[in-house]
Every structure is written in C-alpha cells, then in structure tokens.
Symmetry: C2
DNA sequence: GCAAAAGTGTTAGAATTACACCCATGC
DNA sequence: GCATGGGTGTAATTCTAACACTTTTGC
C-alpha cells in the first residue's frame, strides 16, 4: 500500500503562571529554518515513539519535569503544505500546564529558553516562527476554556495551595478580577475540586489561609464563570 | 535536517441524525489490513494536499457533499507505533456533522458504506478496525459536548427546520428527552441561535410550526443543558 | 492599633424547572 | 369534534453577583 512519507513533529505550548503573570516557554532557534527567531519547543517524532511520548520527551528536555507533575494534552495537528521550508512536515501540538518552577528552566537543550508573557506574544502575530502564533493562540484558548469546566487550574499550582493562589491562576489566565469571597465559596463548595489538608499558611500575608490539594473531580459542576 | 518519514492519513467520523436515530457512516474494508471489517472512512493525505482538504476530499467521495453544507472540525491525531500493520501511520481524525441526506450515500468509492446507530457501534469495542473505536468515541463525545454551548445542532438539520426538529437532534445525540416547551423558549430566546424565516410547515403534524434558519451566533449563552 | 488577607452571611436578581393552559391545523 | 403537536404563562426553586461584616495574622 503506497503512501507519501512526511515528517511528523510535535510542538509544545508550555504554560505557567509566575507571580501573577500568564507565561509561555519559548526557545530561540539555533538552527535553520527561522534561525534566531522565537519558536515553541518541539522536534521530530522518532520512528518507534508514540506522539505523546515524543511530547513528554521534549517537555523533560526543556523543563526537567517528568510526567507525574504536569498536565499534557493534545491541542491539534497542523499540516498545511509549505508550513515548513524543509519539506512536508505535519506537527502535532501539545498543551502542557506546569506549576511555577522552582528550578531554573535550563534543560539539556543548548538553545536558550525563556518565559514570556502570553499577552505580549499574542499581541505580535509575527513574533513566532512557522505557524506557531496560531498554535499558541489555539493552546491558550483551550487552556482558558478548560478552566471553566475542569479542575485544570490546579495544574498551575504546587501540590498544596491556598484558595487565593488558585484564584490568582484564574485571574492571570483570564485577565480578569474575580470576587475573592464568591470565588472562595465556589472553589470549596464544588464537589471534588479541592480538598483541605488541615494545614494553614501565612505566606500570602494577613489571616492564615487553609491549604488544599487537588480533588478527585474531573469536571466542575457548576462551572467557574469568567 | 533529518527526520524519519511516516504515513499521514485522515479518518472521518461522519455523524447524522436520521429519523430520530444518531448514526455514523461506516465502510466495509475492501482491502487489507482488516479486510472485510467495518471501519471509519479515510485515506492517505496526498503530498501537496492540506489535512482539512484531504478530509473534505474523503467526505465528498463518501457522501457527495461539498464543504458548504457540512461542519468539519479536527478531533485529534492518533499515532501510536503499531496501530497500523502497514508501518508507521499517523492519522488525523476529523468530525463531520451532516444533515439527513436525501441522496443515497453511494459515492464514487467502491467500498460499501452504511449508516449504523452510534450506540450499537460504541457498545462493541471490537466492532471497528484499527483504533477506530477510540476515534469514534472521541468524536461522539466532542459532538455531544459541543451541542451544549455551540449552535452546532443546526449542522444536523436541513437549511430550514422547525424547533421540534432541532430538539429531535438534541434528543437523538444525547439520548435524553427534553421538555418541548422549555426547549422552544431556550432556542428562540438565545441570541443568534436561530432566526425565523416567516414561513411555516405542517410536516410534523399538528399546529403549523414556524421555520427557522441557523443564526449568526458561534456560541450559546446560556448553554443548552443536557 | 492598623493593614491585609481569609472567610461567612445576606439579599436582590437571573436562570432553570415543572407544568397548566391555549392555539391552529388535519382528519 | 378530536387528536396532535406548537407555543405562551407562571410559580417554585436554584444559582449568581454584589457587598457588608467578622476573623486572624504580621508589623
């Protein structure tokens, strides 16, 4: 059975929230094409490697994170002829949501990697190489939408977090202010969203706040509204 | 720049609602692998062809429909090594929602095609070739979810339809009964969902019903609840 | 004490639900 | 007339949004 072989790659939209800022991990390309321009991390899928496995490998190379600590899901696949000057390359894009990394971004990859505010990158459609502006836009839109009806915001938080830290994630990703009091009720009353650890912290200042972990829910009923 | 070439294909989850039944278009495979088994329509992407263009070509071959009349969106991409015995094949799955076709399904494709109730196919995980059971399940879940917050149900209807025909789509896809009176209010009051044509029909029996067309909305606020 | 953030209570308005009821047609 | 589905009205309930107010810490 004949078919025309093509290159298959994965690209990663790695998002985090750092100090109230919603940011994406970009690399400066060290090789052609688009040498010296900013791009999403990514690379070709190896012959005996699954697509998600390839994305996990790239993610570990860039961030040092392993699969337990991160949320990774497919966004979409981009394959217009001509999107890559090297030839026909089809790219499967993945969305990774990671907590604010205590360790530096430095991975085994030699190319320089940097966290950049999402708003800044999206404001300039020509900033990124290839069709990565569209890929980023699609990934960001997916993340924003999923915060509403899934407990995914916890993926941006450390293992234990306060309700106001969780609210900070929503505010950074959506770019809106939420009522702290109503948000507190929503987060703690929504079945399975968060579970209290019994501990408290004063790291946010003011009255000590309860610490929570991610709950078992996979969907939020009712959703958190934007 | 070296990469390992792979086969790239598209598979189609073509869904419709016919006489109150939620159905998927399957073909019986005429060639190996999985010869004689049921599968989703699909085929390899041509060298200079875009992914969506390939899906549209397959769709036209199977149903005779052109792009104006149908909704087509990407579901996901499936590329585990070993999913296709012919070698490393990555398949980009597309979801197509089509109205009940007045013309027979017969296309230029020689393989026999048939509409089969979705529930029947999903009930038997071994019915379909390759990993098509998973692809179908993902496509169906996408369609069910999108009915809630998008005006996509109209994609299953002819250009002009009554509110009860629209409700029939929801009931068939979700497998639930909806209150006709509350649904009527919801559909007609939700901004941009449907627009009245001014015509009426008695084809559903009883009092004449107003005819509507799809409205300009791309999202429904508030959503239709399951 | 004062500032800051956590957390609870309350109330008005909006949306959802269930169902009573009337309308316009075919037969 | 009578059956059938179309379409409107309305009240009970639930959800949301806005904000007053109390609690517990650091300084």
């Amino acid at each position: 059975m004949g078919f025309e072989p093509m290159g298959v790659a994965t690209d990663l939209v790695i998002l985090t929230v750092r100090a109230g800022s919603f940011e994406v991990l970009l690399i400066r390309r060290g090789i052609a094409p688009h040498r010296g321009r900013w791009a999403l991390p990514g690379g070709f899928v190896r012959p005996a490697e699954g697509l998600k496995a390839a994305a996990l490998r790239e993610l570990a190379e860039e961030t040092g994170l392993d699969s337990d600590q991160i949320h990774l899901e497919q966004i979409a696949t981009y394959g217009e002829p001509g999107r890559d000057p090297r030839g026909r390359v089809v790219s499967v894009a993945y969305l990774a949501l990671v907590p604010d990394l205590p360790a530096p971004v430095a991975g085994t990859d030699a190319a320089s990697a940097e966290w950049v505010p999402v708003a800044e990158v999206l404001a300039d459609a020509k900033r990124l190489a290839f069709d990565h502006h569209q890929v980023l836009a699609d990934g960001v839109e997916r993340a924003r939408a999923k915060l509403e009806y899934s407990p995914l915001a916890t993926a941006f938080c450390p293992a234990e977090f306060t309700i106001s830290e969780l609210r900070g994630v929503y505010e950074a990703v959506w770019g809106v202010a939420l009522d702290p009091r109503n948000f507190h009720r929503k987060a703690t009353k929504t079945e399975g969203f968060v579970v209290p650890t019994g501990e408290t912290t004063t790291r946010d200042g003011g009255r000590p706040a309860q610490l929570f972990r991610r709950g078992p829910a996979t969907a939020l009923h009712p959703p958190v509204t934007r």
